[in-house]
Symmetry: C2
Subunit: 312 residues, 2 copies
């Protein structure tokens, strides 16, 4: 049985197994990814981020339904980097036990953090590639919160949708500043709440201050996802952004940049494993840790010595 | 002028300059850190994390004041990994423009993300070491939110205080699950709000489920930081935890583990730089990116080839 070929022939089971292989780092994963890689690069990948409580899952579900209504197939990767120890991924699965999962044209997978964060970014990017190879037209990467981890994860997207919500208080200001630069499209969800106009004005002001937006001004759309309001308009904005990237040649530039970053991240991850295997499990390393711990040596000279041992 | 010696002699200016050197990666940083390292290991390092809006900064300030009343000197490192692009660190500074900054026995520094997250964890840990070498008795590492980034940063602490707040809604449940395992002491802040009893019960139940707590059951303390309520009791709990670590020999074990992780992180960071310098700036790398981008080669075999070129 060849998982990659079965996936390319349309098997949902093979799709699921390929993702599991990547997630659990099975030996088969690299082989699968090598075979699927030539079939990637066709989907519109949309990253969705924003503070907890903004209603991102509901919004993603409604966007997925509307894309389906337009005849497009959809993949959703729900990523939860905030749960390093316990079942964040399970939470995502439970929420998604709804009508979407009965639709053959939709494939949903949630991922939590097992192991390193770098690993999670890579696994998310590879899950997107697997769904892409399986022929999904639109793939959402949805994160639970907004932070450096989410920013890294969302880098796998062509278009980044930042979801905000009125009335989350002052700490949100800092978050807004942080995500301003990564947002290609903004949604103010729960737009039937108080404070929507103020948030809208604040956002516009922050966008005014940004210098980089010479040829694409991120639109701000209002939605009430729970009542299916504003979804079509939001999709139009997402499609517009893809069209803009395509027309200006920025899509190719973004994807080349992404390829570059993915290669570097893979190299760093492999190097990290090499270090774990060749340094941290050695008796010499334990001795050095003790020497540093007892202040007989300092960590900086120890690191220099250890690196001399492994690099050409 | 020798920054390290001046710092050890008690200069606040040297303390500030040493941190700046680490933060901006000046050439002098390693030399300073090597000289300070033998003088570290004396402070009680307390990590403070929890969701945005829990009132962590106010609580930290009140804890600092109470420690000062008890005659201890205090360092505060306020870390904001959620602001990769703009002035999260500035926000922290602004909030702290209060009476604490007039106290010679308190030193406050806020740090945002410039560069990699791994870099931020290391710089936070080194800032803690610098404050430690300067003789601070208690050092707080305060994060703005709670996520994998914050968990990594808080790893530099002896005692982790998780601050929660009643009534933040369902997304918080996932966060609580994620931070349960790292909390040595819990504070329910804004405990004059509705929902405090329910949150307390939920927390106790979650702690009941945890298997690892055979000899230390994390206490749950209620505070209203803005009104200075519960601060002394919380400090007693933090001190109890340090006493427990010391008595059981766990303090040495934790710190050895931390030394080990810090060494590995430093090695990985140095390797990352080596890769950037020797691979990503080469013309060969650009050609490989193009080949991968055009699906002539797959990223997995390219990475294998590149690694062969640099490792012994």
């Amino acid at each position: 049985m060849d998982i990659a070929n079965e996936l390319l022939a349309g098997s949902r089971l093979a799709l699921s197994r390929a993702i599991t292989a990547v997630e659990n780092e099975y030996d088969t994963a690299v082989d699968i990814m090598q075979k699927l890689y030539p079939h990637t690069g066709r989907a519109h990948v949309i990253g969705i981020t924003g503070p907890p409580g903004a209603g991102k899952s509901t919004l993603t579900d409604k966007l997925a339904k509307e894309y389906r209504r337009q005849g497009k197939t959809v993949g959703i990767v729900a990523v939860d980097p905030t749960s390093p120890f316990s079942g964040g991924a399970i939470l995502g699965d439970r929420i998604r036990m709804n009508e979407l999962t009965l639709d053959e044209g939709v494939f949903i997978r949630s991922m939590g953090t097992r192991g390193s964060l770098g690993g999670l970014s890579r696994k998310t990017a590879e899950t997107v590639k697997i769904m892409d190879a399986s022929g999904k037209d639109v793939i959402f990467i949805e994160t639970v919160g907004v932070g450096q981890s989410e920013v890294d994860i969302v880098k796998a997207a062509d278009t980044t949708l930042v979801v905000l919500v009125p009335g989350l208080g002052d700490d949100i200001q800092a978050i807004k500043a942080g995500v301003l630069e990564i947002g290609d499209v903004f949604a103010i969800n729960k737009a039937d709440r108080d404070g929507v106009d103020r948030l809208n004005i604040e956002l516009e002001m922050m966008l005014d201050l940004n210098q980089d937006m010479v040829d694409w001004r991120p639109p701000i759309k209002r939605t009430v996802a729970s009542q299916n309001q504003g979804i079509e308009e939001l999709i139009a904005a997402l499609d517009d952004h893809l069209g803009h990237l395509d027309k200006t040649g920025k899509l190719a530039i973004r994807r080349t940049e992404r390829t570059k970053n993915e290669l570097l991240a893979m190299i760093e991850e492999q190097l990290g494993r090499y270090v774990l295997r060749n340094i941290s499990n050695s008796g010499q390393f334990e001795q050095l840790v003790t020497a540093v711990q007892q202040r007989q040596r300092d960590p900086y000279s120890v690191v220099t010595d250890l690196l001399k041992g492994i690099l050409k």
